[in-house]
Amino acid sequence: MTEAAALLVERDFAVPDIRCAGCIAKLEQGLVRDRRIAAARVNFTEKRVHISCTLDAETPELIGAFSLLGFEAHPIGDGPAEVDGGASDSRALLRAVAVAGFAMMNIMLLSVSVWSGASGATRDLFHWLSAAIALPTVAYAGRSFFRSAWRAVRHGRTNMDVPISIGVLIATALSLYETATHGPHAYFDGVVMLLFFLLCGRWLDSVMRDRARGGVTALLRNMGTGAMVVGADETSRWVDATALEPGMVMLVAAGERLAADGVVAGGASRIDLSLLTGESAPREARLGDPVHAGTLNIEAPIRVRVTAAGADTAIADIARLMGEAAQGKSRYVRIADRAARYYAPAVHTLALLAFAGWMVAGAGWHHSLLIAVAVLIITCPCALGLAVPAAQIVAAGTLMRVGVLVKDGSALERLADVDRAMIDKTGTLTLGRPVATNLDEADATVRALLLALARASRHPLSEALTRDLTAAGVTPLAVEAIRETPGFGVEAEWEGRRVTLGRPAQPTTDSALATQLAIDGAPALTVRFADALRPDAADTIAALRQADVAPSILSGDRAAAVAPVARSLGLTAQTGMSPQDKLAAIARQTAAGHRVLMIGDGLNDGPALAAGHASIAPGSASDAGKNAADCIFLGDRLMPVVQAIRVARRTQAIVRQNFALAIGYNIIAVPLAFMGYVTPLVAAIAMSGSSLIVVGNALRLKGAAR
């Protein structure tokens, strides 16, 4: 056993379909039956499965083990390092919250006795005990604030952390002095409470980012892909995408995505380019034709000689454009930081004024400093620090329930500003997958036969048929001796007759996809496929207009293919656009003062998604699209896009209310502090009171998506 254990490797798989306790049991108990898998552990929150397997277990075999159990699994390549980095970040914050919470409770316990009248030696003892708890806590829990404040100050800027750090440090130092000189007031409780509330806000922010990132990782499909490579002696082995080299020959089955650029070296098929260029009609690929990484082989198995892999592929060009486009977005300043720009100098001026004022009035430096510290503590942006993250995490939770993943808080802020929507056609307004258009012509027997044959095949058209027919409630007929011939189709025996589902006998006149059901060689039905509009596309466009967002189409497809969609939705469209053209279109709108929401799915939309003021991609999008977008919506309906905009606007309204509450609280509290009425007791009540109000207000967002 120990010998075997030494040879195990750990691998992670994203399994988006884990939905219930049954799935957990099925996966964990089913996977270990496989000889190669020693242990499996499901992480339901992140929709991942962590397995320990033997060294000789190849990726396709492991994916096969998942599909035997009825789950689709995607290997997660080198991603975990980055993901775990984020998770450990919020874990460190959680530890700091725990320490601050523990310290706060114990210091409060001691403070309450001081407030209720402890005096003399007892008070001093309690103050010393508080100091003993507070000093290490400030040093441990305050680190992230001090570090960020120091970074800002060193670059001559200021942020929310600067007043926090100064307030915390001065208040701690003064309290220590008070304790040493047997003074009546020490602010240790206020300092630690401040840290606790602020850390809560920061932790919420971090958890939100992690959760969305977990969801996105689970959706990434193409990460860690590879190809079956055929050697000189006709043996085939699985090679990871990163290890592919020019000259290798890949065997690409129907329904597989290409892992590298190349030329067709054997066979002929049709290639779906929609993710790369936005074209909805598949393109013929014959011997010697160039084909690109990321495109989908939809008809027959082909051999492809690799010409470029990894960073040299056509995709890499788009990735470079995306990197440049994303730089513009990083200049966006979050609302809390914008507020801090005005808030921080105001707080410092107030505290300084209080100190100077009392000095002039002849109160002596000790008394004046005490009042200045009271002003600093009372104005410290406690509620302000919670105002934004509390609202945003509630909103993100609400959106997750309607199927929208929001990547971070700034995405919600930007989404609330948009007034233009530029929408890609293929895969965004449309479903981006073939849907059978003429199933109504078929009678019940033909439909049942179709389903019986189609469900035996993994071919994209068969899968489309299976999905549509199952959804229509068709029960398949019993057929025997099912056999699939790659490049031709499926055949079987039905009541002694030979039934086939495959390529139509005569090629269809247009480039539309079609498949034919034949009984004893006589054609029974030719099923045509087309890329259909999303079911609620028209409603969504109307709702967008109602929300004062002007929509238009930005498509890489031919004008002839875009026109029917544009006409039926009443939209203006720009067609035949390259990724650069899309970028330019967005830049023009931005220059005209509009905030553009980009909605798209393809690789070719990647740069535009990165450049838009905000961006949304469907869950079926290319990995590049999903990585570049701020939000991802799941499912076939387009309406979540509008819901996301609505919730984002509601969130922004709540955030502004929270700011107003925090400022209103300051208007009342600051004069009191100025006059010297703010004892540690008053500060504690004011701080916790305002924080609770802000959090309560944020919770109103729970039902905002309805």
Partner: protein
């Protein structure tokens, strides 16, 4: 006054135990999969002889 000498260390000690327990559970991965933990109660353990 004498009571304080006993009670304060007790109060602090209990708090510290809580804090230590929290850190221990955090390190043990009990907070890694909160939604899954809620569902695992429904998972029936596999029979011993199935192995």
């Amino acid at each position: 006054m004498n009571g304080l000498l006993v009670l304060i260390p007790v109060a602090l000690g209990l708090g510290l135990i809580g804090l230590a327990a929290f850190f221990w559970s955090l390190r043990g991965g009990q907070f890694d999969d909160l939604d899954g933990a809620a569902l695992r109660i429904f998972v029936e353990d596999e029979e011993e002889d199935a192995r």
